[in-house]
Amino acid sequence: MRPFIYTRANSPSFAVQTFPSGSAGPDVESPGQYLAGGTNLIDLMKIDVLRPQHVIDINALASSPLGIISTNAQELRLGALVHMADAADHPEINRAVPVIAQSLRLAASQQLRNMASLGGNVLQRTRCPYYRDVSYSQCNKRRPGSGCAALDGFNRMHAVLGTSDQCIATYPGDFAQALIALDAQVELQGANGTRAISVGALHRRPGDRPDLETTLAPGEMITAFVIKPAPWMRRSLYLKIRDRGSYEFALASAAVAMDLEDGRVREARIALGGVATVPWRAQAAEALLRDQLFSEANAQAAADAAFAGARTREHNAFKVELGKRTLKRALTEVAAMEA
C-alpha cells in the first residue's frame, strides 16, 4: 500500500499542531487528513483518490467535549466526534429539532451511522463517479485543470444548482442541509486558535476551483456544531427522495423548518440536498413564504423560486421538477405538523 504516517492525537491542540504544513485542501496529494469514523476517508484511500502523507487519528478526542451532545436553554451543541447514530437517536434532538434527527437517520446505513462522525459527515466527499475513479483522466476536483468528464458523461445524479463549467458534482450529505436551515454555527480549531463560522459559509461552490471544497484553513479542524433555539425548530422535517427505500443518496431532498401562527408563516427555513454542489440554502424561496398565509400556491411559488437558477445537463433535467415537488411536499407536510 501507499505508505503514510499515522499519528494518534490525544488533544485537539496536539492534532492541529501535528498537522503537516504545506498546501492543504482536498486534492490528491493533500499532506494531511484527520481520521474520525473513516467511513469516507479509508474508502477514498483504498481507491487511490486521496493520498495523504500523514493521517492523524482524532478518535481519542471523543472523550473530550468533541464527543458530547449537550442541550440547554441557550443552545444545542453537537461535538464533532459524536456518531451520527447517537445524534439521530437522541430523544431531545428528536423532540426539539426533528429535522436534525431525520437528516441523520435517513443517511447511510445503521452500520455506517454507528461509525461516522458528525464533523466528518459534513465534509463527506462527492459521489461523482468520475471523481471516485482515478482511471478517468478528467476531474477538476481531483486533478485541477484536467477537465470534467461529468459534463458530457453520465450525469443523472449530478447537481443543477451551484454548478460551474468546471464541476457539477453533487454534495452528497443530508445533515449539513439541516444545519444550514437552522443557521447553525460550526466551531473550528486551527494552529492559530479557535473561531466559529456559519455552517452555510463552510462549503465553497466549485467555481473555477472545484478542488477547494471548503473555507477551512489548512489543518483546521471542526470541533462542534452549535444551534441556537428558534421558534421554527420544532416544526421541522427532512424529506429525502431516492431510488430505493434506504441506504441511498438523495435525488432531491429538503430540510424545512417553519414558524407558523394561525396559518401565517412567520419564518420559513429551506435547504436543499441532492440537487446542488454544496448544501443549498434557498433564501429566495424562504422570502416568498415569510409573512404570508401558507397555501399550496405559495408553496409552489417558493419551489419555483428555489430552482430559478437551475442549470441542467443531459441526464439530470428531471431534478428541477423533482426538486420542486420535493420542496413543495416538504413544505406542505411541515405546515401540517403538530408543533
Binding site: 482515478v134 468528464a149 431510488d243 427505500g245 423533482l322
Partner: protein, 759 residues
C-alpha cells in the same frame, strides 16, 4: 412449519435445512480464495481505462520499484497463453476477449497483472503503472455511430431456431385490437457477493485451481487448453460458491493468467479481483430492445404475434440469448413471426445471467399482453386463460405438463385480485396511488448429462459424490435428499461432496438443470445399490426376505423391507460379504449422443428440454405485485408480491421457497433498481460498485409470498424435477411495470422504472 419451510404437499420433499448452512453462517465454509496455500504471492489486475484503441507503451519503472513486487505480466510476456474459443453450451457461442493487448476492445479489459509478496504491494504497483494509449472513438450501445447489426439466423447453421408459423401480416390485419410497442431492458451485472477469485498452485507439472465455478469440468478442461497441458494435469476445486448467477460458468481470461504467473514464479498465486473489475473481467446481461406487434379478436383470442429482438454484444463475439424461442410458446398466439438481431458495440462480451433468454423477452411479451388486455377491457388473468394452450403454437407438440392457470388461480386468490378496480389510477391510499399487476413466469426445463458415485455402508451411512455446484441454491441438500429417500436412510446419514474435478462430472450449473440432472444420476446409482441388496436378501437361503419377489422389496428406516417382513441393512451386507456398496452411474437425456458422457468428462455438457424434445418441457408460475407510487414525488414502492409456481417434483420445500422468493426479489430489482450505466462518450461503466449499482435493500422488500403448486410430470426426467432456480425472477419486472400502469395510467416501456419517468 414456518413460511420459509412450507409444509410439503403432494410430490414435494421435506424442508430439510441446508447441509452446509451451519458452516456458512459460522464462517467455517471455505470459499476458494479462503483455501490455505503455502506462501502465496498476490496478484492485482490492471484494466484498461479506455474502451477502444491501442496500448502504445506501459511504463513499469515506478511499479517495479515498489518493494515486494515479483513480476508484472502484460501482452509482451504472456504470449505462451493459447487463444481458445469455447462453445458455451446454451444459446449461441461465445468467446471472451483473452488477449491483454496491445489492442483494447472494451473498457476494463485486463491489460496487466502485478504479482507481489503482499496484496497491498501489488495494488500499489498496479496504481503506479503508467499506460500510454492511442484512444479511438468507441460505440457504447444502440444508436451509437459505428455499431454493426446482424440477423442471428444468418450467423451459422446452429443458430437458434427462430420460431415462425402462419401469416402474421394477414393475421394482424384482421385483428380487432393490436398493440404495437417497443420495449427496452438495460445492462445488468450479476454482482455475486463473492468476488471473482483465482488461486493457482503448481506441484511439478500438476496444477490445482481454486476458483468459484459453475462448471468444474469445463474449467478444468479449458484451463488445460489455455495452458497447453493435459486435462489430467489440472484439478479444479470449488466447494462453495458465494453466488454466481451465470457469471462463473465460463472460463474467463484471469484464470489462465494466474496459472501462467504461478508457473513462472514457482509459487502459488492468489487473485481476488475488485468489485469494479468484476464488471469488465466477466460477463453481464446485455441490454435489449424489442418491437412487438400483438393482435387479438374482440373476444380476446390472440390471432398474431410478431417479436423482433435486438441484443448488444461485443465486437468479436456473436453472443445472443434469443428468448423468442420460449416467448413464442407461451400462448395460443395464432400466427407467429420472430426475429433476433445482435448489435456489435465496443463492449465486453455478455453472457449468461439468471434466466438469460427469458428475462428480457418475457418482460416484453408480458407487458404487451397487459397492454392488449387493457385495450380489450379484459381482466389480465382472464385474457391469459382465454389464450392458454396445452400444445406448442409453433409445432403442435404437447406440453409434458403445464399448470399456468392453476398458478394464476392460486396466486390471484392469495393476492385478493378479485378486489381490483381495473381502471388505472382508481385505487388510492392517501397520497399514494395503488396499482396491482400480474405476469407469467416461465422457464424451460433442462435435463443434462451427469454422473454420480454413491456409497452405502452397512451401518447406513451414505456418501454421494458428484462434481456439481452449490451456488447457494441447496444442491448439497437436495442431492443428498434423493439418496436418503432411495436408500431408506435418514437425511442426517447422508454426506454430499461436490465442487471438485476429482469427483465424477456433473453438468454446468446453468439452465436450472442441476437438481434434475444430478438427482437423476444419484437415483440411478441408488437403484444399482438397491438391486444388489434386494438380490442378496431375496435369493438368500434363509432370512425374513428369502424368496420374496425382488419387485416387492424396498429400503426404509435402514432396513430392506417387504410387505410384512424386513431385515436390517447390516444383515443384508453380511449376506453379500461386503462392508460397503459403491455404485457409479451415468445419466444422459434421451436423444443425447452416444458420447455424451465422454464429452462431459471433456468439459462439454449436453442439455435437453425446453422446446427441443418430443414434448415441450417448461415450468410455469404466476406473479402478482402491488405497487404504491407517491402522487407528487413518484417514488415507487412494492409493499407485497405473491407468486405461485409449479415445478414438477419439489425436492425440498425450503430451498425451493428460498430460490423462488429470491428470484421474485431480483425481479423487483430488475423492474425498479438495477441498471449498469454506461458513459455515452467514453463507453465505460460508470456505476461499477455496489453503492451505485442499486439492488433492493430490506426496506424495499416487504411481503413476498411464494406458493408451491403441486404438479407431477414423469416425462421431464427420471427425478420428475423441473428446475426452479431461474423461474422466480421471470415475469416479475412485467408484473411491476403492469402494476405501475394500473396505479398511474402511465405505461413505461424501458426498465428500470425510475421515478423521473413518472414525473
Amino acid at each position: 412449519m414456518s413460511a420459509a419451510a412450507p409444509q410439503p404437499l403432494a410430490n414435494m420433499g421435506a424442508p430439510e435445512p441446508r447441509m452446509d448452512g451451519r458452516a456458512k453462517v459460522t464462517g467455517e465454509a471455505r470459499y476458494p480464495s479462503d483455501m490455505p496455500v503455502s506462501n502465496p504471492a498476490f496478484a492485482f489486475l490492471v484494466t484498461s481505462a479506455i474502451a477502444k484503441g491501442r496500448i502504445n507503451a506501459i511504463d513499469q519503472m515506478r511499479a517495479r520499484a515498489v518493494p515486494g513486487v515479483l513480476d508484472i505480466f502484460t501482452h509482451e510476456n504472456t504470449g505462451d497463453l493459447k487463444e481458445i474459443k469455447f462453445a458455451s453450451g446454451g444459446a449461441g457461442a461465445s468467446t471472451s476477449i483473452q488477449q491483454l493487448g496491445p489492442e483494447v476492445f472494451h473498457d476494463g479489459q485486463i491489460i496487466a497483472m502485478v504479482v507481489a509478496d503482499t496484496f497491498e504491494a501489488a495494488r500499489e504497483a498496479a496504481y503506479a503503472l503508467k499506460v500510454d494509449y492511442a484512444e479511438a472513438p468507441a460505440a457504447p450501445s444502440f444508436d451509437s455511430p459505428g455499431v454493426e447489426t446482424e440477423d442471428v439466423t444468418q450467423l451459422h447453421d446452429s443458430a437458434k431456431d427462430i420460431p415462425s408459423v402462419g401469416d402474421v401480416e394477414a393475421a394482424l390485419a384482421g385483428a380487432d385490437v393490436v398493440v404495437d410497442a417497443q420495449y427496452g431492458t438495460p445492462t445488468q451485472h450479476h454482482n455475486p457477493i463473492e468476488l471473482f477469485t483465482t488461486t493457482c498452485v503448481w506441484n511439478g507439472d500438476r496444477l490445482t485451481v481454486h476458483e468459484p465455478s459453475q462448471f468444474m469440468y469445463g474449467l478444468k478442461n479449458n484451463v488445460a487448453r489455455k495452458l497447453d497441458v493435459g486435462p489430467e494435469q489440472v484439478r479444479t476445486i470449488s466447494h462453495f460458491v458465494g453466488g454466481a448467477f451465470g457469471s462463473k460458468a465460463q472460463l474467463t481470461p484471469r484464470t489462465g493468467l494466474v496459472a501462467f504467473a504461478a508457473r513462472k514464479l514457482h509459487r502459488p498465486v492468489k487473485l481476488v479481483a475488485t468489485r469494479d473489475q468484476g464488471f469488465t473481467i466477466a460477463t453481464y446481461r446485455a441490454e435489449t430492445r424489442h418491437r412487438i406487434r400483438l393482435g387479438a379478436r374482440r373476444d380476446g383470442k390472440l390471432v398474431g404475434y410478431e417479436h423482433e429482438g435486438f441484443e448488444i454484444t461485443s465486437r468479436p463475439d456473436k453472443y445472443f440469448v434469443a428468448g423468442v424461442e420460449d416467448a413464442a410458446r407461451l400462448y395460443a398466439y395464432g400466427a407467429v413471426k420472430t426475429k433476433v438481431n445482435i448489435v456489435h458495440a465496443d463492449r465486453n462480451t455478455p453472457g449468461f445471467m439468471r434466466s438469460p433468454p427469458v428475462v428480457p423477452y418475457i418482460y416484453a411479451i408480458e407487458t404487451a399482453m397487459d397492454e392488449l388486455a387493457a385495450k380489450l377491457g379484459m381482466d389480465p388473468v382472464e385474457f391469459r386463460r382465454v389464450n392458454d394452450t396445452t400444445t406448442d403454437p409453433i409445432s403442435g407438440k404437447p406440453y409434458s405438463s403445464r399448470s399456468l392457470m392453476q398458478c394464476y388461480d392460486q396466486a390471484a386468490a392469495a393476492f385478493r385480485w378479485m378486489a381490483r378496480d381495473p381502471h388505472p389510477g382508481s385505487m388510492r391510499d392517501g397520497d399514494w396511488l395503488i396499482g396491482w399487476g400480474c405476469a407469467t413466469a416461465v422457464y424451460p426445463t433442462h435435463f443434462g448429462s451427469a454422473t454420480a458415485r454413491v456409497r452405502l455402508l452397512a451401518n447406513g451411512d451414505v456418501r454421494v459424490q458428484t462434481a456439481a455446484h452449490d451456488l447457494g441454491t441447496g444442491a448439497y441438500t437436495v442431492i443428498g435428499q434423493m439418496a436418503a429417500e432411495r436408500l431408506g436412510v435418514p437425511f442426517s446419514a447422508v454426506k454430499t461432496e461436490l465442487g471438485d474435478s476429482e469427483l465424477p462430472p456433473a453438468s454446468v450449473a446453468g439452465g436450472s438443470n442441476t437438481t434434475a440432472s444430478c438427482c437423476s444420476a444419484v437415483m440411478k446409482a441408488c437403484h444399482a445399490i438397491r438391486a444388489k441388496l434386494f438380490h442378496a436378501a431375496a435369493t438368500a437361503n434363509e432370512g425374513p426376505l428369502a424368496g420374496q419377489q425382488i419387485s416387492g422389496l424396498t429400503l426404509r428406516d435402514g432396513k430392506v423391507a417387504a410387505e410384512g417382513a424386513e431385515e436390517p441393512l447390516a444383515e443384508t451386507f453380511k449376506r453379500l460379504g461386503v462392508g460397503a456398496i459403491e455404485e457409479y452411474a451415468e445419466s444422459a437425456p434421451p436423444g443425447a449422443p452416444a458420447d455424451a458422457i465422454a464429452s462431459l468428462y471433456a468439459g462439454k455438457p449436453t442439455l435437453s428440454g425446453g422446446a427441443h424434445g418430443k414434448k415441450l418441457m417448461y415450468a410455469f408460475g404466476a406473479e402478482f405485485v402491488e405497487v404504491r407510487v407517491h402522487k407528487d414525488t413518484c417514488e415507487i414502492r412494492v409493499p407485497r408480491a405473491v407468486g405461485a409456481f409449479a415445478g414438477g417434483r419439489i425436492m425440498n420445500t425450503r430451498t425451493a421457497h428460498s430460490q423462488l422468493m429470491g428470484g421474485m426479489i431480483w425481479g423487483i430489482s430488475s423492474a425498479l433498481h438495477e441498471a449498469t450505466e454506461i458513459d455515452p462518450v467514453r463507453a465505460r461503466y460508470v456505476n461499477d460498485n455496489l453503492a451505485d449499482y442499486l439492488v433492493p435493500v430490506n426496506a424495499d422488500v416487504q411481503a413476498v409470498d411464494v406458493i408451491l403448486v403441486p404438479e407431477v410430470d414423469p416425462d421431464v426426467n427420471p427425478a420428475g424435477v423441473k428446475g426452479l432456480g431461474e423461474l422466480g425472477n421471470v415475469g416479475t419486472a412485467a408484473a411491476v411495470s403492469n402494476a405501475v400502469y394500473h396505479a398511474t395510467g402511465r405505461r413505461i416501456r424501458q426498465l428500470p422504472i425510475r421515478l423521473e419517468k413518472l414525473l
